[in-house]
Symmetry: C3
Subunit: 193 residues, 3 copies
C-alpha cells in the first residue's frame, strides 16, 4: 500500500471540460449549450444503468452500455480487474454476480466534464458491499472512479473505467446473513468458483 499514487485530478488525468457558462451567441450556440446539459444527464443515466444492471446481473442491458473496446482498470485491496473488451467485461460480471453473491454498488457525487460533442470524462465516488456467500466473505469499501465516455451513433458509452480504493475492509462472516430477500439467489448464474 505504500506506493499508492495521490488521487487528485492531475493523476487521474481529469482536465477541465467545457465551462458551465451559457454562450453569449445566438440560437445555434444555445442549442449546443442545451445539448451539453442533455449529454451530462445522459452520461449520469448511463452510469446509473450500469450499477443497476451489475447488481441484478442484467447482462443483456449491460452489454449495451460499453464500447466494444472498453478498457477496465480496477485496483481493489485484494484483487485487480484488467479487462480490454466488452465481452470480457460482461463475462466477468456474470461470473462474479452469481447466485452466491449479494452486490450493492452505489456511485455518488458525479463530476462529469464534457470535452467535446462526443467525448466526456467523469469522476464518481463508489460505496459498495459485496458478499460471496459460499466463501463466507464480505468486502466493504469506497473508491474513486475516473471514466472516459464516447458518444457513438448518438449514444453515450463507457470507453475507459478506472478505480482505486479509499478504503477496503474484508470480513469473514461465520454465518450466512438472514436473507428475507435475495434477487441474485433466484436470477444469478450458478457459482463457478
Amino acid at each position: 500500500m505504500s506506493e499508492r499514487q495521490v488521487l487528485n485530478k492531475k493523476n487521474m488525468g481529469i482536465n477541465s471540460g467545457l465551462p458551465l457558462q451559457a454562450s453569449e451567441g445566438g440560437i445555434d450556440e444555445l442549442r449546443r449549450d442545451i445539448q451539453r446539459l442533455m449529454d451530462i444527464e445522459a452520461i449520469k443515466q448511463l452510469k446509473h444503468a450500469y450499477f443497476r444492471c451489475v447488481d441484478t446481473a442484467n447482462l443483456e442491458e449491460l452489454a449495451t452500455l460499453f464500447h466494444d473496446e472498453v478498457c477496465v482498470r480496477f485496483k481493489g485491496g485484494g484483487y485487480e480487474w484488467n479487462l480490454d473488451s466488452k465481452q470480457e467485461y460482461v463475462d466477468n460480471i456474470g461470473m462474479a454476480f452469481s447466485k452466491e453473491a449479494i452486490g450493492q454498488h452505489n456511485a455518488h457525487h458525479p463530476e462529469i466534464q464534457i470535452i467535446s460533442e462526443t467525448e466526456a470524462t467523469g469522476i464518481w465516488y463508489l460505496a459498495d458491499n459485496m458478499w460471496i456467500l459460499n466463501h463466507n466473505a464480505l468486502t466493504t469499501g469506497t473508491a474513486l472512479y475516473w471514466d472516459r465516455y464516447l458518444k457513438v451513433d448518438g449514444k453515450w458509452l463507457i470507453k475507459d473505467t478506472n478505480y482505486e480504493r479509499i478504503y477496503e475492509i474484508n470480513r469473514s462472516v461465520d454465518d450466512r446473513p438472514h436473507l428475507s430477500s435475495h434477487y441474485l439467489g433466484v436470477h444469478g448464474a450458478d457459482a463457478s468458483f
Copy 2:
C-alpha cells in the same frame, strides 16, 4: 422467493422517454428542451424531498408531494405495502416513523424519462437501514424503485411508486444502539405497535 420476476425495464413497464437530443428547430423548440431539463431536475428534487420528509417524519411537507390517488406497491422480504391514496400513504409513514424508529432511506442513480409535458417515469436504486427499537429489529437492504410522476397545476407529483428488493437482511439487535443523536426520538409520533 422462487417466483420473482426479472427486474428489467420491460417488466417494470419503463419505456424510452423523449430523447436527450436538442431540437433542430427554433426558439420555441429550444424552450421545450429547456423545460424538459427543468422537469428532470424538478422530479429529482421531488423524490429527494420525499426521502428527507420520510426520515424526519415531516408529514406536512410530505403530503404536498403525492397525487391524491397515489398508488403504492412495495414488496419487501417480510412485508408489503399496498396503498391507494395520499391519506393512507401519509398515515402509514407517520405510524412507521415513530419515536421508536430510526430510518435511513437513500435513493441513488435516478433514471428519469420524460414522456410528455405532464408525465414522466423514474427508476431509482434504494439503500436503506431501518431500526424499530422497541422490537430490537434492524432491516437493511436495497431495492429498485419504478415510479410514475404527473405534473398537476405546474407541480410534479408522485402518482405511482413501486419497489422490489435486490436483497434484504433482518437482524435482531440484542441491545439498543448507543445513540448520541436521534431526531425521531424527539419529533416522531408515539409508537403504536
Copy 3:
C-alpha cells in the same frame, strides 16, 4: 436532545428559489434559463468535489471550494464544529482526516435553489462512517445539510454550511478493522490527537 428544532425548510431558512419553469421570453431569457441549469450542475459538482477532497485529505483542491469567510455550523451528537474562515476549515479537516482516520462521507438528494445569478441554497442528506483507529472509535449516522453558495468571479463557492443529525451511533471497536486498502493511512497527515 430534547430541545432540538424541527428540521423543516422554514427552520433551515430555505425559501423557494427561481422556479424550474422555462421563460416565455426571447433568446436572452432562454440564455438565463440555460445558465440557471448550468449553475445547478456546477453547485452539485462543487459539493461533490468537497466530499471527494475531504475523504482523501486533498487540502489543496479543498481550499479552492470555500469562500474566504465560509461559516460552518455542524452539530453532531458528541461534537460541534463552529468555524468562520477558510483557513480554519481546511486546517480542521486536515487534522481530522489523518493517517488514523477512515472517512466515508456521502451526500445524497440535492435540493438546489437558485436565488439569483450569484446566490443559491442547497439541502443535502449526508450518510457517513468515520473511524478514528487510534481511539478504536467508529461514528455512523446521517444528517441534513443546508448550505448557501455564492458565485465569485465566475466560480461557485461554499459560503455557509450547516448540518444537524438525524441519527448518530458511536461504537467502540475492539479490534482494528482488517484493512486491505487504506488511502489515508498512506496520504493522511500524522495524527495530532
